[in-house]
């Protein structure tokens, strides 16, 4: 909107899924880290967590509540990741709540028919990909904007689903399916996860070391290693408590890794950023825009299937209101996480952090028994504050 603002975009590069790395080349690494949207979000979440911990009399920071929070975040996080990908490429998806409701229904239907967990989920994912394909084909073949096509999908998929289910909850589903998100992560997996955290952390630390030309990089190395070890230890410790870690975490991590990988390391990801930044430039550069958009919606289709499975597993039934307003929450999470609605800018990590911030608020306020309407008021104010502070720090840095 103003010059200052447009220049704000500069440090948010395509590599923003790994913001410190990209920005670090231009600015001091430490300051960049302090400034990245992810850090501000993490800080905001931390403040909230401490507050809730204080006010709830210590109930918030318990392993059971950590598990709860993860389970409550999971669907939004997964969908927000897909949404971020689409928004980055200049598209949007308003149908995701209805589509996830529909695939969740498919999963529950086959569960009730007595199918096993894997075939039921498979059916849900296939259904999701079909819906994604329909969205993608209409958008690319008939050149109808995604906003309109997915608005139609918003009406269509829920309408069809309600019609098929006669608006009654379908279920309950088997405990095996519930286990898929709500279940406790098996101990070997917990150790595996701990090791994975260590491995990734080590890479991160070394990358910081290698790329750094400035002093303080040794400090950075140490800080990063410490953080990684701390997280790994936390994973292993919490994973062993009676509540343990929920399997939902694996879904979040899985989707984050795949989508984060695609955006960060795959050629497809580069095309997505370019297409979203400047569609005309992308076409001139020889990018097949239609195919890229179609692939994007196919990936989102798979996410419909996963999200539907997770909705059903979490609720134990496929409820007629499942996924209501999911599209809005997911867009909010992505935008809070730094994805620009103008396209070309954003990150999976940010979107997932945005989802966590939103879920933390829900969880904390439910825990405190804050009345519903006041919850919304508080949530609104925190949202604006988080994003405003982020912008403020960023500008201050630039202005100094």
């Amino acid at each position: 909107m103003t010059l200052q603002e447009s220049s704000r975009k500069v440090p948010q590069t395509a590599d923003d899924h790994d913001a410190p790395r990209a920005a670090g080349r231009a600015y001091s690494r430490v300051v960049a880290a302090l400034l990245s949207r992810s850090t501000v979000l993490t800080a905001a979440a931390l403040v909230l967590i401490l507050y809730f911990q204080q006010v709830s009399g210590g109930l918030f920071l318990t392993s059971t509540n950590a598990s709860l929070l993860l389970r409550q975040t999971a669907v939004v996080a997964v969908v927000a990741a897909g949404m971020a990908m689409l928004i980055i490429m200049g598209e949007i998806d308003l149908s995701v709540g209805s589509a996830a409701f529909f695939t969740g229904l498919v999963v529950a239907h086959f569960q009730v028919q007595g199918w096993g967990v894997v075939p039921s989920i498979g059916a849900g994912v296939v259904a999701g990909i079909v819906l994604g394909l329909v969205n993608g084909l209409v958008i690319t073949r008939f050149a109808v904007p995604a906003f309109i096509v997915t608005l139609a999908g918003f009406l269509l998929w829920r309408g069809l689903g309600l019609l098929l289910a006669k608006a009654t909850p379908i279920g309950p589903v088997s405990n095996d399916l519930i286990f898929v998100t709500e279940g406790r992560m098996p101990i070997p997996l917990v150790y595996g996860l701990g090791l994975a955290v260590l491995a990734v952390g080590a890479r991160w630390a070394i990358a910081g070391r290698r790329g750094a030309e400035r002093a303080g990089s040794l400090v950075a190395l140490i800080v990063r290693l410490t953080v990684s070890v701390a997280i790994a230890v936390l994973v292993i410790v919490i994973g062993q408590t009676p509540t343990g870690l929920p399997n939902a975490l694996l879904w979040i991590l899985g989707v984050a890794m795949v989508l984060g990988g695609v955006l960060g390391r795959a050629k497809l990801g580069r095309r997505i950023f370019l297409l979203g930044s400047n569609a005309e430039a992308a076409v001139y550069a020889g990018i097949n825009a239609k195919r890229t958009v179609l692939i994007g919606f196919l990936v989102m289709g798979a996410i419909y299937g996963i999200a539907g499975t997770m909705l059903t597993a979490r609720a134990g039934v496929a409820s007629p209101d499942a996924g209501n307003t999911l599209e809005l929450v997911a867009i909010a999470a992505a935008v809070i996480g730094g994805t620009s609605l103008r396209g070309g800018v954003g990150s999976i990590r940010g979107a997932i952090l945005g989802a966590f911030l939103l879920a933390t608020m829900d969880n904390g306020m439910s825990l405190l028994g804050v009345p519903t309407y006041s919850q919304n008021v508080v949530k609104a104010i925190i949202l604006v504050l988080a994003v405003a502070l982020d912008g403020y720090f960023r500008r201050r840095q630039l202005a100094k």
Binding site: L3, Q4, K9, A26, G269, G344, K400
Partner: protein, 528 residues
């Protein structure tokens, strides 16, 4: 056709250059009711450089947009063949796959993506769908060596100046193994030296058998690069040469005027003696980048521009001229220190709005991203900065007056087609530039800063613009600061020339200085 000259490529070339790489027959393109390309034929052989010239809006870009799939198959009439097979490109993606690579006239660089990503966009190195950043950086470095550009390919393209952006795109295109390479005004934003490098490269490509279509407004380049030349006028092929003819002959073919009348245009601008109070007075101005390091972009610059005077500001890419202009115009987001008087009143404008109110306007360097309002009419593009003067009760746009003003400008500036209600996107690049110049001509104009005003403007229009700028300066007593990387331009048009090198003014020359003087000041060779 009003011309019986041999048509380039229509007959097989004398030296028996083997196969025809690319053949186009009777290409015709109609927008609405206007035929912008009319029955144009073209043949391109391996190792041939075919230059396409013509005035702004002649249809040059349209021609190559068809050849490269930007205008997709089905939206034009006529046929295109590559290697004797019919080619029906539906997009640049398709043409690219067939080995036809185009660098478009307008810049399409995404500032927040890295330089390497911008360079290789659709052709990123890597396997199994994964992007190999290291390979990309390696390749990019190799490609950038061509122009001796020392930038980090991992940095966002935002750090590049417009001319550097143009260079990375060119470097990337040259780096690809194209069979047909199409360059639409590649040198418009380049310095002489950079252009020289590019032309050398093209010669080596020709040896390797690449067919090249080369569009330019710089006719002096043709001798150095072209085998054949075709001239377009009003969408028609009006002349073709299998060698480079005399410049005057080309110009008359382009403009459809007789040689005599063109030569009569050559002028010597009378020097305007500096007198009275300066229109623009700058003292010890410094401009810093808006980040922690506070890198300076302009250091301690002092200058005066008197009413009616045209001061040239020459320098190489990155010298800091654009920053100086932006700072004076209130459009620099970072810290600025120093003093400034505009028309006698002191102080740096806080924002562009204030600058305009005080009678200072700026013609931006990057037309596409900072100048043109895409999808909006020519008229509203032109009047945006003078709406206050064109409104009734400071509220409603006075449309009759606006129309009148726009018609006047369109006529004065020679905007073609002279339609003011169509979207500006429908104008050719050079004509868009004229519209933006019109935007700068606010009421009570005191200081006009022109940042590379003749980028992509044809000889005829360039002449118009020079004449107009001179008229504005002299008649309206406006002080003009002409930022240019074109030595000839500053030498012929400026009354006085300042040269910038590394953030500072390193030389002042009066009319009649030699190109050599300017060059050595601009490269830091001679310090005053």
């Amino acid at each position: 056709m009003d011309n019986d000259q041999p048509v380039a490529g229509a007959v097989p070339s004398v030296d028996g250059r083997a196969t025809a790489l690319l053949v186009a027959r009777s290409l015709t393109k109609v927008y609405g009711s206007t035929t912008v390309l009319n029955d144009v034929d073209l043949t391109l052989h391996e190792g041939q450089v075919l230059a396409v010239v013509g005035e702004n809006g002649a249809g040059k870009s349209t021609l190559v947009k068809i050849l490269s799939g930007v205008v997709p198959y089905g939206e034009y009439a006529g046929t295109v063949e590559v290697d004797g097979n019919p080619a029906q490109f539906s997009s640049p993606y398709a043409s690219d796959t067939a080995g036809v690579v185009m660098v478009p006239q307008e810049l399409h660089v995404v500032p927040h993506l890295t330089i390497a990503e911008n360079m290789f966009a659709a052709h990123l190195p890597g396997r199994h769908g994964l992007y190999d950043e290291r390979a990309a950086v390696r390749e990019a470095r190799k490609a950038l060596e061509t122009f001796g550009l020392e930038v980090d390919p991992r940095a966002p393209a935002a750090v590049l100046t417009p001319s550097e952006r143009r260079l990375i795109v060119l470097a990337a295109a040259l780096h690809r193994s194209a069979r047909v390479l199409i360059l639409d005004e590649p040198t418009a934003a380049l310095t002489e030296a950079e252009a020289g490098v590019l032309l050398d490269r093209l010669r080596s490509f020709r040896k390797a058998g690449v067919g090249i279509i080369y569009i330019t407004h710089r006719l002096d380049e043709l001798k150095r690069v072209a085998d054949d030349v075709m001239v377009l006028r009003n969408g028609r092929l009006v002349a073709g040469y299998d060698s480079v003819p005399r410049q005057a002959e080309l110009v008359s073919a382009m403009l459809g005027e007789t040689l005599r009348s063109i030569e009569a245009i050559a002028h010597v601008a009378p020097t305007k003696p500096a007198s009275g109070d300066p229109a623009l007075r700058v003292r010890n101005l410094s401009v810093f980048v808006n980040d922690k390091q506070q890198r300076p972009r302009v250091l301690d610059v002092s200058l005066d521009v008197y009413p009616g005077e045209i001061v040239g500001l020459y320098g190489l890419v990155g010298a800091g001229r654009t920053e100086l202009g932006r700072a004076l115009f209130g459009a620099w987001p970072g810290p600025v220190t120093g003093e400034c008087h505009i028309g006698g009143t002191q102080g740096l404008p806080k924002n562009t709005n204030r600058a305009l109110k005080r009678g200072l306007s700026l013609l931006v360097e990057d037309r596409k991203s900072q100048g043109v309002f895409h999808g909006q009419s020519v008229s509203s593009n032109m009047t945006v900065s003078m709406l206050d003067d064109l409104s009734r009760m400071r509220l409603l746009v006075d449309k009759p007056r606006e129309r009148h003003r726009v018609d006047e400008f369109v006529q004065k500036l020679g905007v073609r087609p002279p339609r003011t209600r169509i979207a500006i996107d429908a104008l050719s690049g050079g004509n868009q530039q004229k519209v933006l110049l019109g935007r700068c001509l606010i009421d009570d104009l005191k200081v006009l800063i022109l940042d590379e005003p003749t980028l992509g403007v044809d000889v005829g229009a360039r002449r118009d613009i020079y004449q107009l700028v001179r008229k504005i300066a002299r008649e309206l007593e406006v002080g003009v600061l002409l930022i240019s990387s074109d030595v000839d331009e500053v030498l012929t048009e400026a009354d006085r020339i300042l040269v910038m090198y590394k953030c500072r003014i390193r030389g002042e020359f009066s009319r009649g200085a030699s190109a050599h003087d300017l060059m050595s000041a601009a490269t830091g060779a001679s310090m005053p």
